[in-house]
């Protein structure tokens, strides 16, 4: 902002010639004259538009045109939630994608609901009979692609749901396991300290023995039963199979009757070839010796 010391006159003139004429005529006043563009006049020839429409309009029966003008059908969802349905009242927000598309959808719905009785009256069908085969706008191949895509989307969702559930289950199972282990450890600790105390003469009561013994027997048996039902886990089984049971050696290199009689590893060429050239012929990839390399280097 700058402080204006003189009055500013705004002039709607474009050309210097006009400016000169205005000066001659005495229209220009002293002070700062600012040149501004004329506000653009946009054409809106309402009369012309109406005339044009009247000329251009074709009075066709409705059956030829099949057009309808209507507001969208009532929004059931928003009514159920008792939200204020703003689009019904006034402006539709073009940026809210979901709202906008629902608006278009409901407009089409309202059209159909209004048009059905009219179509029936003019005996125009909307459903084609089962055996009517005709070319569709999208080819069958394309529809197959669409179907596959939808199915794959569904499968992905299902898989992710399953994975989530499994993860939750595992977490929960882990929690329970940890709790059980901790409980057991605490009991053991309590027991040991009680025994120690008795041994060192700090307490002379022996009640802890009976109570713990009863509880321990029952709980240990109960937990063992639960664990043994499933046996070793899949991971354990796999590791046993791979690394064996620790003690016994692999025993794959023993000379048994079967291994002696097994001639599948016999290659006649190699057996009768008298150990000639190795696979390709040794020298193909062989690196030249030090003196040869030196000579090559000196030459280049």
């Amino acid at each position: 902002h700058f402080y204006l010391y003189e009055k500013v006159n705004i002039i709607h003139l474009h050309f210097i010639a006009q400016l000169q004429e205005a000066f001659a005529a005495g229209l220009l006043k002293p002070g700062m004259n600012v040149l501004v563009d004329k506000p653009k006049k946009l054409v809106n020839n309402v009369e012309g538009l109406k005339q044009c429409l009247a000329d251009f309009r074709k009075d066709l029966p409705w059956v030829e045109r099949l057009d309808l003008t209507n507001l969208p059908a009532a929004n059931i969802i928003s009514q159920a939630e008792e939200k204020a349905s703003a689009p019904a009242a006034g402006e539709l927000d073009a940026d809210d994608d979901f709202q906008r598309e629902m608006f278009f959808y409901r407009q089409a719905q309202a059209t159909i609901l209004e048009a059905m009785p009219l179509l029936n009256r003019h005996s125009i069908a909307t459903k084609r009979p089962e055996d009517y085969f005709a070319e569709m706008a999208k080819s069958d191949q394309h529809m197959q692609k669409i179907r596959k895509k939808l199915i794959s989307k569904q499968m992905i969702m299902e898989r992710s749901e399953k994975a989530k559930k499994l993860r939750e289950q595992r977490k929960f199972g882990k929690k329970v396991q940890i709790e059980v282990i901790q409980k057991r450890q605490q009991e053991k600790k309590a027991m040991m300290s009680a025994v120690k105390k008795y041994q060192k003469g700090m307490t002379d009561k022996l009640e802890f023995l009976e109570g713990d013994q009863k509880m321990n027997k029952e709980s240990s048996q109960g937990s063992k039963k639960a664990v043994n039902k499933k046996g070793p886990s899949a991971k354990r089984k796999y590791k046993d199979q791979k690394f064996g049971f620790g003690g016994k050696k692999s025993g794959k290199k023993w000379n048994t009757k079967e291994s002696y009689n097994d001639v599948s590893g016999f290659r006649a060429k190699i057996a009768h070839g008298k150990g000639g050239k190795k696979g390709k012929g040794g020298k193909q990839n062989k690196r030249p010796g030090k003196s040869v390399r030196k000579k090559m280097k000196n030459r280049s």
Binding site: N44, L49, F56, L66, F103, T111, I124, M136, A137, D140
Partner: protein, 310 residues
């Protein structure tokens, strides 16, 4: 999957007699050179959807627009949809009633073609559409004129030889944000469940002319900003932001490096200072005695517990 339509037409339940095709509307759909794949597919889709449409070769942009009227006459078409691509980015669509009638120019945006996998509906090729308009079309004279143009162009004439007698899809034209949104839905159930078929696009009105591809301007859209201006504005805004940031940085730099004023030394600052009295220097000649630390005697835990019990 094709069938001889004429043979079946007499057997159809909805049709008593194959009628005469009286409403002779033919639409010429073609484009200029330099269109991209999306525009080409959109044109093909429109030709699929409208059995009363005819195709033509690409027109050179050097020719003036009124040449199109002659092309239409040659092809015996009375409506025209002409797609013009500029700068390989912007697509303009002309819709016009060929010999005398009004014409309109639009900027086309947000094109989605029939081939998109998210548009899952399907309809008979050449079936007649229902047209659905927003009530806002009746409120303004220019929209009313556009509505009439759309009705005459997009509705398939009854008993057209290439058309199918069923009505199984709806075209919707809605006005939102000063633009016209076009959607195409398939009618699945008669109670109103719909699936979108496509194509879909948005039309931004520029001008309406009294003649076909020319003539006096009847209406100019005040809210229309040409895509060039739009891009320029974005660039200017970005540039202005960068310049502002730089200015701020420079100002801060200036502040740091500018000479700071020296605070004048206060003459009266040391008026109330009184120096402390001098203490005699104390020199220690003998080392100090070592401290004796007494250890506390605490009883062991067991003993403490016994004592506590007692």
């Amino acid at each position: 999957m094709d069938q001889q339509p004429s043979a079946d037409r007499e057997k159809l339940p909805g049709r008593s007699i194959s009628g005469k095709w009286t409403n002779k509307e033919r639409v010429l759909i073609f484009s200029s050179r330099g269109i991209n794949f999306r525009t080409r597919h959109l044109m093909q889709d429109l030709r699929t959807m409208m059995p009363h449409a005819k195709a033509d070769t690409k027109m050179d942009r050097k020719d003036k627009l009124f040449v199109i009227n002659e092309v239409c006459e040659i092809k015996n078409c009375n409506k025209c949809l002409y797609f013009e691509a500029k700068k390989k980015q912007d697509l303009y669509m002309w819709i016009s009633n060929s010999p005398h009638g009004p014409s309109a120019k639009f900027l086309v945006q947000n094109i989605h073609t029939l081939a998109e996998l998210k548009l899952t509906g399907n309809c008979l090729k050449g079936s007649r559409p229902l047209l659905s308009f927003d009530p806002k079309f009746d409120k303004e004279p220019h929209y009313a004129l556009l509505k009439e143009l759309f009705i005459q162009t997009f509705s398939t004439p009854r008993y057209h030889p290439k058309s199918q007698p069923f009505v199984d899809h709806v075209f919707t034209f809605t006005i939102a944000d000063n633009r016209i949104w076009f959607r195409n839905y398939q009618i699945i159930e008669e109670d109103g469940s719909l699936v979108e078929i496509g194509p879909r696009f948005v039309l931004n009105l520029m001008k309406i002319f009294q003649g076909s591809f020319g003539g006096p301007t009847l209406y100019e859209n005040p809210d229309f900003r040409s895509p060039n201006m739009h891009r320029r504005e974005m660039r200017l805004a970005a540039a202005a932001k960068v310049r502002e940031k730089q200015m701020v940085k420079e100002m801060q730099k200036g502040k740091k490096t500018s000479a700071k004023e020296d605070l004048e030394s206060d003459v009266t600052a040391d008026v109330f200072l009184t120096p402390a009295e001098e203490k005699p220097a104390d020199i220690q000649t003998e080392a100090p005695e070592p401290k004796v630390v007494k250890k506390k005697q605490k009883a062991f835990k067991r003993q403490r517990m016994q004592m506590a019990r007692r």
